[in-house]
């Protein structure tokens, strides 16, 4: 660290100073996408409550949280991936696949009279390892086989999703500890233990994204991979860590859903990757990389799951959710475009 070598006397104040334009002020207003998201979310809650007072209750909040948790777990991993300039399409399939494998392990252990806590711990570790494994395969396909992330993770989506169906024949795998499902019961207001763990994991990931070297390298690679490499960053190693993390979190989401359903369902994660990507994009991340915040992802996931619950409660066919989500994505992306054209006229 010798940034402080012998001082050079000759100082030429170069022109990096200069103008703060009115444009940058306009950008400040539009720029705080998190604030807009928070307003949108509050407005949604107010609207649904106005339409049906039942909406504003601990029960509904608990429901929203248990929808939100698996989505935000996937979306947290997806946030790192998207900021690095990639995409992970496999997370939904990994959720289902890890839940199924975990369910088999817990079924076997229960049949063989293992204690419930040990069985559940083994299930958790299994789900995490299965997720981690698929994440590492993604990284291998991207780094070594040189596939673009879209194709690499599309391949593992197909493989993991297909294997879940083949192994199970399409039905859920039950027979685990009978106490499993009771873990998902909220005990702290609307919060259950798995939800609290999820929140802890997301906060931890947010700290690593915004305050640690891990996040710094993630942004750098998505912003300018060439510059990152030139700065001595081991880009391949960082990519490996990012996809491994994404897989690991998808595995945890698999366990979350197992605890909620009391079984491992091969179809439980189908299409969940789209919810995860939607949450990330609504949260303000750019699919071109380099941009995004964990608070945005958290709010994006809340907005998605609030819409779903709200529509059901006010009696709208749940399929309208897709339409609302599409509108939200379009709105979020056009705000980004506005910001960019107002802020970067360089």
């Amino acid at each position: 660290m010798s940034l402080s070598e012998p001082a050079v006397e000759k100082t030429i104040p170069t022109a990096v100073a200069e103008k703060t334009t009115s444009k940058s002020r306009a950008r400040g207003l539009l720029g705080n996408q998190q604030f807009i998201l928070l307003l949108v979310w509050f407005a949604m809650i107010a609207l649904f409550t106005y339409l049906n007072h039942i909406f504003f209750s601990v029960e509904v909040a608990g429901n929203i949280l248990s929808d939100w948790s698996p989505v935000v777990l996937l979306a947290t991993g997806e946030t790192f991936v998207v900021i690095s300039g990639g995409i992970d399409l496999s997370v939904g399939a990994v959720l289902g696949f890890s839940g199924v494998i975990g369910a088999y392990v817990m079924q076997w252990m229960t049949t063989n009279k293992f204690e419930a806590p040990i069985t559940l711990a083994a299930g958790l570790v299994t789900c995490a390892l299965v997720g981690l494994g698929v994440g590492l395969i993604n990284a291998l396909l991207i780094n070594k086989a040189r596939l673009v992330p879209f194709i690499a993770t599309l391949a593992t989506l197909g493989a993991a999703g297909g294997m879940s169906i083949v192994l199970t024949g399409g039905g859920p795998i039950a027979g685990g500890p009978p106490t499993a499902i009771s873990l998902s019961v909220p005990w702290l207001g609307p919060f259950s233990t798995p939800t609290l763990v999820t929140i802890g994991v997301v906060i931890l990931c947010g700290l690593f994204l915004h305050l640690a070297r891990f996040g710094r390298y993630t942004y750098a690679i998505g912003s300018n991979a060439f510059a990152a490499r030139a700065a001595g960053i081991n880009v391949q190693r960082q990519i490996t860590k990012i996809y491994a993390l994404s897989g690991l979190l998808a595995g945890l989401a698999g366990m979350y859903l197992y605890l909620r359903l009391g079984s491992g369902s091969p179809t439980s994660g189908q299409g969940a990757e789209l919810d995860a990507i939607a949450a990330v994009v609504i949260g303000g991340a750019a699919l071109s990389g380099g941009e995004g915040r964990m608070t945005g992802t958290v709010l994006g996931a809340f907005i998605l799951t609030t819409v779903t619950s709200g529509l059901i409660i006010i009696g709208v066919a749940p399929n309208w959710k897709q339409v609302v989500v599409a509108v939200l994505i379009a709105g979020a992306v056009s705000i980004q475009q506005l910001r960019r054209s107002s802020g970067r006229a360089a």
Binding site: M1, S2, L3, S4, E5, P6, A7, V8, K10, T11, I12, P13, T14, A15, V16, A17, E18, S24, L207, F208, L211, A212, R213, F214, R216, Y219, A220, G222, S223, N224, F226, A227, A228, R229, A230, A231, G232, I233, N234, G290, E291, G343, R344, A346
Partner: protein, 256 residues
């Protein structure tokens, strides 16, 4: 043909280096050296092999043949990281900065300072300290930034280039390689870049300066190496060139 002006041992040297891209011979038996406190200009037509030589010198590419010596010791760079660690800083023609990151994040990219204790072990960053030091170190090499916590995307092209060069000079311990650093810059900004190069020379660094703007090369270098179709066709003190003879050597109209 070689530089007789330096009696001291060369700081950095390549010997008989070749580089092939498939059938393309980008560098053919190239040998050159640079001494501490010396500015060497590297010139040549488009496709002459300048950027390829830069990548070999900076560890981004491995030469197909030949040796690389730093302080007289043969080195084998496996990645830019190896060369950076050894004190060789490079500003690539196409690299630039990470626009989404702040000025100080760019200055410290790949060399982040971490907090003390357990948080540091986990890679948590000492951001405040880096902001302050980035500002001070850029100022030291002659580049003033209003706020080093500002995102690079908010800087103009010239400002970005100034930060990129400042970063390289601030970190360099031995050699700094600048691939067309004055491209796309206005006259005033280019003049400032040349001042930064002179400051780096005074600091005792070896500077390799690549440019198509021959007046810049003639004004700031001690020696000029002319590449043509992957070969060195002339290596002589700058005093032996004028604008016409340098251009003639580059285009091949003048041969020695």
């Amino acid at each position: 043909m070689s530089s007789a002006t330096h009696d001291s041992a060369p700081l950095y040297e390549v010997r008989n280096v070749s580089k092939h891209y498939g059938a393309v011979v980008a560098l053919d038996d190239v040998s050159m050296k640079i001494h501490a406190g010396e500015v060497v200009g590297l010139v040549g037509d488009n496709g002459a092999g300048k950027s390829t030589l830069v990548k070999v010198l900076s560890g981004a590419h491995q030469p197909s043949h030949g040796q690389i010596l730093l302080d007289g010791i043969e080195r084998h760079w496996k990645s830019p990281h190896d060369a950076l660690e050894a004190g060789i800083e490079t500003l690539y023609q196409e690299s630039g900065l990470a626009p989404h990151l702040s000025v100080s994040a760019n200055v410290f990219l790949g060399r982040e300072e971490v907090r003390s204790g357990v948080l540091g072990k986990l890679g948590f960053l000492a951001q405040k300290s880096m902001d302050v030091r980035a500002h001070a170190d850029l100022e030291r090499v002659g580049i003033a930034v209003p706020s080093s916590s500002r995102s690079v995307s908010q800087l103009s092209g010239g400002q970005r280039q100034a930060v990129a060069i400042g970063r390289a000079v601030a970190w360099a311990k031995k050699v700094i390689i600048l691939d067309e650093p004055t491209n796309h810059l206005g006259a005033r900004q280019a003049g400032e870049v040349l001042e930064v190069i002179k400051a780096a020379k005074e600091q005792g660094l070896g500077v390799i300066f690549i440019s198509h703007t021959l007046p810049h090369v003639l004004s700031v270098t001690d020696r000029i190496v002319v590449l043509r179709l992957g070969r060195i066709v002339r290596d002589a003190p700058t005093s032996e060139f004028n604008a016409d003879t340098l251009l003639g050597t580059i285009t091949g109209l003048i041969t020695t």
